[in-house]
């Protein structure tokens, strides 16, 4: 590993994004450290997903600088950027699996496209990833339309993990899962972080997930990150929205007994 734990792995400086006249982010700063799980929270429409898409380069920032792995990917030639893009994995909200491929084939897409591996090794690796995200081996041969929502998320995660990424981006990973499935997912993320040394960038509304897995939490409001810190920092905050979020009825229920 070329970088050590604790170094900044994602640096966002002075980010501005707009849709027409609508300003989503204004002078947004955010630093994510290697090896941590960071949770991004914020009300609906505060641009959490937009921030994620901007870091991934799916949306162009209108101003500001984004460095991932210490590199400014936007400035790089296409070819070189592709190489670095393989160093992250993304789980989209509904898995975004390719509907014409089975789960195993979905996981093997990056192997096929980027590497030259024997079919036998690809099959083994697919089986390992499927087991790793807690899917049954039978799921390998199923098509996305044959999977439940929770299974699609797990399969999407398996695909995101295919190339052993350094950063994992998760967009609302537990939304739409039953509480047991969501808790298992939290545990899975924790596990993966421990064993693979992943950095996890997590957009979520799930207070349990925040509590269970996140090392730090960043609150998006007023077009920027208004607060970043541990869960205890959140609980002490005087900001009305943050207070409401972490002391509301649902929050009290989530934190009760923890």
């Amino acid at each position: 590993m070329t970088m050590r734990k604790g170094e900044p792995i994602i640096e966002v400086e002075g980010l501005v994004t707009r849709f027409g006249d609508h300003v989503v982010h204004e002078n947004l700063d955010l630093t994510v450290k290697r090896g941590e799980v960071i949770g991004i929270v914020g009300g609906s429409g505060t641009g959490k997903s937009v921030l994620l898409r901007t870091i991934l380069g799916l949306k162009k920032p209108d101003a500001g600088r984004i460095r991932v792995f210490g590199l400014d990917l936007a400035e790089m030639p296409e070819q070189e950027r592709r190489v670095h893009e393989r160093r992250w994995g993304v789980l989209f909200q509904d898995g975004a699996l390719f509907s014409s491929l089975t789960v195993a084939q979905n996981i093997q897409v990056p192997y096929r496209e980027h590497l030259q591996l024997s079919q036998a090794l690809m099959d083994e690796l697919a089986a390992v990833k499927i087991a790793m995200v807690g899917l049954k081996p039978e799921a390998a041969g199923l098509y996305p339309s044959e999977l439940s929502g929770g299974m699609r998320k797990r399969a999407g995660l398996a695909r995101a993990l295919a190339l052993d990424p350094e950063i994992l981006f998760l967009d609302e990973p537990t939304a739409g899962l039953d509480p047991i499935g969501a808790a298992a997912f939290d545990e899975l993320i924790d596990d993966l972080k421990e064993t693979l040394g992943l950095t996890v960038f997590l957009v979520t509304h799930d207070l349990d997930t925040l509590y269970a897995t996140c090392d730090r939490i960043a609150v998006l409001a007023e077009k920027r990150v208004i607060l970043i810190g541990t869960i205890d920092d959140m609980l002490l905050s005087r900001h009305p929205w943050v207070h409401e979020y972490f002391h509301g009825r649902r929050a009290r229920a989530a934190f009760a007994g923890k």
């Binding site: 024997s118 083994e124 087991a131 098509y143 996305p144």
Partner: protein
């Protein structure tokens, strides 16, 4: 007996693996970058080794020189160790770091999973199975289509009893999209085909000195067959496919389920307006197509045979009776119903995936063109039997 792989040129230390036998012990020394990017040669080497293992009792795998390691590397190591154990060897993993141990344990914990199998039956079974599957699908589709036609007829029946159930706005909208918007294409194509038929006919008939009968040829062939067939095929390609794709994507996004839960009947909302719109639009389009075909023929006849438009019109009137025109136009609503029903039914059969929308759209166009031509042949037999 020493082998190594992966030590090709290149600054970065590639994955490598040295194997050697020393007395009763098989030594495997792993080194370098054991991440997925460089792993393939090592994997092949280890597979080859396991296919013909040396006859020893112990195996020692030394991990000290590995400087990068990921799940893929762990997977290859875990598998190699497991297979060696299966062959009755005692396996030692030496100099394993803590991180490596965690990774390997993680993979071993679920038991080394069975690799994903790709089903492949022998060819004759595949062929037989596909034929059988196709036959079964035809039967099922025929029954499904019959049920669908019944449901649509019942809905249309209810619409006739309660005319207020008819969705006037979608009906008119589909008339415009399937009928009016198709006019330029239909006009151009039938004009050109009319001209081509006239030109070819005139050349052939001239050999018998019967070129004046070119007019009969054009008039009869267009009014009875070609005008309608061309229009129907164009409409099947334009509108049949659109019906399938529209209804199919609504089905995929659960809009149709949403309609049902809101107490709306998708038959009423989506299918009946399309079917009725096409039943009205296709005869009108056919009429225009006939006229354009006759005009195309007339232009060629004037150029090649020096026949003035007045004479041409008179000759056309002599050549055709009411039923020459009637035969063509009577068939139109039936073909329209076929195209619309096949299109809507294919849309309703779409399942969850984007691919299925494409497959159903293709199927809808192919099937409706096929049925249009079969229907035309049946009508030809019928009209011959009743002597029209």
């Amino acid at each position: 007996m020493r082998n190594s792989a992966g030590r090709e040129a290149g600054a970065a230390p590639r994955a490598s693996c040295e194997t050697g036998v020393d007395g009763q012990t098989l030594h495997i020394v792993a080194a370098g970058d054991w991440s997925i990017v460089h792993l393939d040669p090592v994997d092949r080497q280890l597979r080859a080794l396991l296919a013909a293992p040396p006859s020893v009792r112990r195996a020692e795998i030394d991990l000290a020189a590995i400087d990068r390691f990921d799940t893929a590397g762990a997977c290859v190591l875990a598998r190699t160790a497991a297979l060696l154990r299966d062959k009755g060897l005692t396996v030692d993993l030496k100099n394993m770091s803590e991180a490596q141990r965690i990774l390997i344990d993680k993979i071993d914990a679920g038991g080394m999973p069975e690799p994903v199998r790709h089903l492949s039956e022998p060819l004759y079974i595949q062929v037989t199975a596909r034929v059988g599957e196709a036959v079964r699908a035809i039967g099922e589709e025929a029954m499904g289509m019959l049920g669908f036609v019944g449901a649509v007829v019942a809905t249309i029946g209810r619409t006739i009893v309660h005319p207020r159930r008819l969705r006037v706005v979608p009906f008119v909208h589909h008339m415009e999209k399937a009928g009016f918007d198709a006019l330029p294409l239909v006009c151009l194509l039938t004009f050109l085909i009319g001209a081509v038929v006239a030109q070819q006919g005139a050349v052939q008939l001239r050999q018998f000195g019967a070129e004046v009968f070119t007019v009969n040829l054009i008039a009869i062939i267009f009014l009875r067959e070609v005008g309608l067939l061309l229009t129907a095929i164009i409409v099947a390609g334009r509108s049949g496919s659109a019906f399938t794709a529209e209804i199919g994507s609504m089905k995929m996004r659960e809009e149709i389920d949403a309609m049902r839960t809101l107490g709306l009947d998708p038959m009423d909302m989506l299918v009946v307006p399309r079917v009725l719109a096409l039943i009205v639009a296709l005869p009108l389009l056919t009429f225009v197509a006939n006229i354009m075909g006759l005009i195309g023929g007339g232009v060629v006849v004037q150029l090649m045979l020096d026949m003035s438009p007045g004479v041409y019109i008179q000759r056309v009137q002599e050549a055709v009776g009411f039923w020459t025109f009637g035969v063509g136009i009577v068939k139109a609503p039936f073909m329209a119903a076929t195209i619309a029903l096949v299109g809507c039914r294919a849309g309703m059969s779409v399942t969850g995936s984007a691919e299925s929308v494409g497959a159903q759209t293709t199927r809808s166009v192919v099937r409706s063109i096929f049925l249009v031509i079969v229907l035309d042949a049946l009508f030809a037999m019928f009209f011959t039997a009743v002597d029209i």
